[in-house]
């Protein structure tokens, strides 16, 4: 019975099916907000208010012909999207929204799961680099090298920013961190700069506009995705959507005080908070222009890293004076 329950757990509720539906909803929300900020309508004619647009894109791509470059390493080229999707889906399992009561936590909540989720979130970037490198197109090799240069920029500030609230709550377990901040909501204001740094770093991780350099449309044609089409492209786009959901879920759990309440209320908290973060991300995306790769790295190390270290210092000091 437990096996069936876990199987169901993996495939249906917090697993693939739910993530697929929720990430397409988030992509629709993001595209709609981005369009409204640009005084446009955004997708409206597919389903109610254009809700089914991402799903239409996904199925159309699945039905398209799949082209594999001849000189590319075929096995690696076609297995990468699947790995990316799997990694990000497992990261989705660890979010503290599914194990509601702290006392008998499900198997997906264990001390140290914040580290695992951060690690799983940085794996897709490597998958992206391999994807760019294995499709031997000139533009994707440039895109791949840019993915790595950016990785060195935003990775450290992101880790610092996300871990400082954990230090304040002195536990590496997401559920406990969330419970700590639910008990003392005032402390949430303490790690506000950390929240800012994490937002910008997540924007860079998801390669959205100020940092969408690896697949910059106007510079290097398609960037890492130049050679991908059909099913592989559909899976890659899905990977990015799920990564958006998981990253914003993580930020919500750590910075906005998790998802209190039982199954239903916790879930509503989860939806509201992730949509709020996605709104912030698309706001950032609409208001800035793309900056160059060297500017990203210098910006990360000159602004993000010091701010994250300051945040860490402030947290440690605060921990000292806390009753």
């Amino acid at each position: 019975m437990a096996v069936v329950r876990t199987f169901l757990y993996l495939l249906i509720y917090p697993g693939l099916l739910f993530l697929f539906a929720y990430s397409t909803f988030c992509e629709w929300f993001d595209r709609k907000v981005y369009a409204r900020l640009q005084n446009r309508m955004g997708p409206t004619h597919t389903g109610r208010f254009g809700l089914l647009q991402p799903i239409a894109d996904f199925f159309k791509l699945m039905a398209k012909e799949d082209v594999v470059p001849e000189a590319a390493d075929k096995k690696l080229f076609s297995v990468l999207p699947v790995i990316g999707l799997a990694v990000v889906a497992t990261a989705g399992l660890l979010l503290p929204v599914w194990n509601f009561d702290l006392l008998v936590p499900g198997w997906t909540s264990f001390p140290g799961d914040i580290i695992v989720i951060l690690y799983l979130l940085s794996l897709p970037t490597l998958v992206l680099f391999l994807a760019g490198w294995s499709s031997t197109n000139l533009f994707s090799t440039i895109g791949a090298s840019r993915v790595l240069t950016m990785l060195f920029g935003y990775e450290v500030p992101l880790f610092l920013a996300v871990l400082s609230p954990a230090i304040l709550a002195d536990s590496w377990r997401l559920a406990e961190i969330a419970a700590f901040y639910q008990a003392r909501p005032l402390l949430l204001l303490a790690n506000l700069p950390g929240f800012l740094v994490a937002l910008i770093a997540v924007q860079a991780k998801l390669e959205r506009t100020p940092f969408d350099i690896p697949h910059a449309e106007t510079e290097i044609v398609g960037g890492t995705f130049t050679e991908y089409s059909g099913k592989k492209l559909a899976l890659f786009r899905l990977t990015f959507d799920i990564e958006l959901v998981v990253a914003s879920g993580l930020l919500a759990a750590v910075f906005l005080g998790g998802f209190p309440g039982g199954a239903i209320v916790g879930f509503v908290h989860f939806v509201v908070k992730t949509l709020f973060i996605i709104f912030l991300l698309s706001l950032l995306r609409a208001l800035t222009s793309r900056i160059r790769v060297d500017q990203v790295v210098s910006f990360a190390w000159k602004v993000l890293a010091p701010l994250a270290v300051l945040q860490l210092l402030f947290t440690i000091l605060l921990k000292g004076f806390l009753p």
């Binding site: 799903i55 239409a56 199925f59 159309k60 082209v67 106007t218 398609g222 089409s229």
Partner: protein, 139 residues
């Protein structure tokens, strides 16, 4: 049931690739103007894509010049099936004022099979949007 779903998804999200085969860029600017707030093709799910790999509908403008002929054929081959071609503007349909020039092939259908012709010099953005929607209706 499956091909009903694929048919619906193909109608609802046509990704376009813009191709200029030696045009006077009036039609190109009107194609790009179709993306802007007033005409906004994204309502129909149309996205302007950069690589032929991602595109379903090639929106081409301009009388094919001799130099561009071979590149257009290659880009047409690089687009995965099912693909469609819309010839925008009088130049793409028949070469317009340049018909008969020594360096112009006169129209896009001399080079690649064309599914939809949008007249006008330049074709108005709403005519282009109408062309895309009619092409999908025919699917």
């Amino acid at each position: 049931m499956l091909n009903k779903l694929t048919r619906w998804s193909r109608i609802k999200s046509p990704w376009i690739l813009h191709l200029n085969s030696g045009a006077c860029n009036a039609c190109d600017i009107e194609i790009v103007a179709a993306l802007t707030p007033r005409f906004d093709v994204e309502r129909f799910g149309v996205l302007l894509k950069a690589t032929p790999r991602h595109a379903d509908v090639i929106v081409a403008s301009g009388p094919v010049t001799r130099q561009m002929r071979e590149r257009i054929i290659r880009i047409y081959e690089q687009t995965p099936n099912p693909k469609f071609v819309i010839a925008v503007g009088a130049c793409a349909m028949s070469g317009c004022v340049y018909r008969g020039a020594y360096n112009v092939m006169g129209g896009l259908d001399q080079v690649i099979p064309v599914n939809m012709y949008v007249p006008g010099c330049p074709a108005r953005p709403d005519a282009i949007v109408d062309g895309v929607v009619k092409l999908l209706g025919k699917l």
